[in-house]
Subunit: 164 residues, 2 copies
């Protein structure tokens, strides 16, 4: 839903005067790729409330999720526990961009093994592995080599998988 990587790269490239793109770290985490000297400052971005407030919405995500709510009970599960400062910013972001999701269907949790649902769409391998229903992997640079889950590359793929 949130294009965190695009937002991170824009900020990182602007701060350090570089031109890092997702093509440069396929199959690896971005923090394994960026210069070691840049890492502390880059990690700091994720501690800033403003960083979360301004993340762009992924193409088609609002439209497809709205369509999903017509056929499924949709919950948004977000792992905010690593960055407690991000709770309110993430909540406000969801309310602003996905106003059709009732607040009662928003879940902040650190470990998605606690989530009772049929499907979890996520880009995080640990969360997909812990989840007890079927995990659907949403492509992100770091997870391109993973083969254990059904894969969606974008929100149109989600539409095809669940609504076609």
């Amino acid at each position: 839903m949130a294009d965190t990587m695009a937002h991170f790269l824009a900020k990182y490239n602007s701060n350090f005067g570089v031109g890092l793109k997702t093509e440069h770290f396929q199959g690896r985490h971005v923090f394994e790729v960026i210069e070691e000297a840049h890492r502390p400052e880059a990690r700091e971005y994720f501690q800033q409330e403003a960083f979360f407030a301004n993340i762009p919405v992924m193409p088609d995500s609002a439209e497809v999720i709205k369509a999903l709510t017509g056929r499924f009970e949709v919950f948004i599960t977000t792992a905010a526990m690593d960055v407690p400062n991000s709770f309110t910013a993430k909540f406000d972001w969801l309310q602003r961009h996905f106003p059709f999701i009732p607040t009662s269907n928003i879940v902040f949790c650190g470990d998605k093994s606690i989530v009772l649902a049929d499907y979890l769409i996520d880009d995080n391998l640990r969360q997909l592995t812990n989840f007890r229903g079927e995990g659907i992997i949403f492509t992100a640079p770091h997870n391109v080599n993973e083969t254990r889950f059904r894969r969606v590359n974008n929100w149109q793929d989600v539409r095809t998988l669940f609504l076609a």
Copy 2:
């Protein structure tokens, strides 16, 4: 875990110079009992971050929950979605009083039907009803007449039920 009612009554009684006690509203919600003229101001308490930060811990709750973690996987599920201002205050409160609960085991959600667990200990009838495992009712003034769930009156009862 949090003695929200004791905290509310202390503040309410002090603000309005009255002496309301839990005995005065057995079987009813406190907002059905307090004077109508007081209600808007009293509802405001729950919109204040400071209100949540200062709620006292229930007797024995830390000790019993710590003991439970030795035998169970314990998650704390708290319905913070009605009061988005309370996220950080609740999170900090849990970290301060229950530091042995990993942050990954804290869940903020509005609807506990999404929680996958064997038991839910809660005082809220709606959450107990929505939950898909076994709900255990924790006595609070408003729920004393409810008979559909196994009941615990305090944290020593929880210890007896799960650890005896």
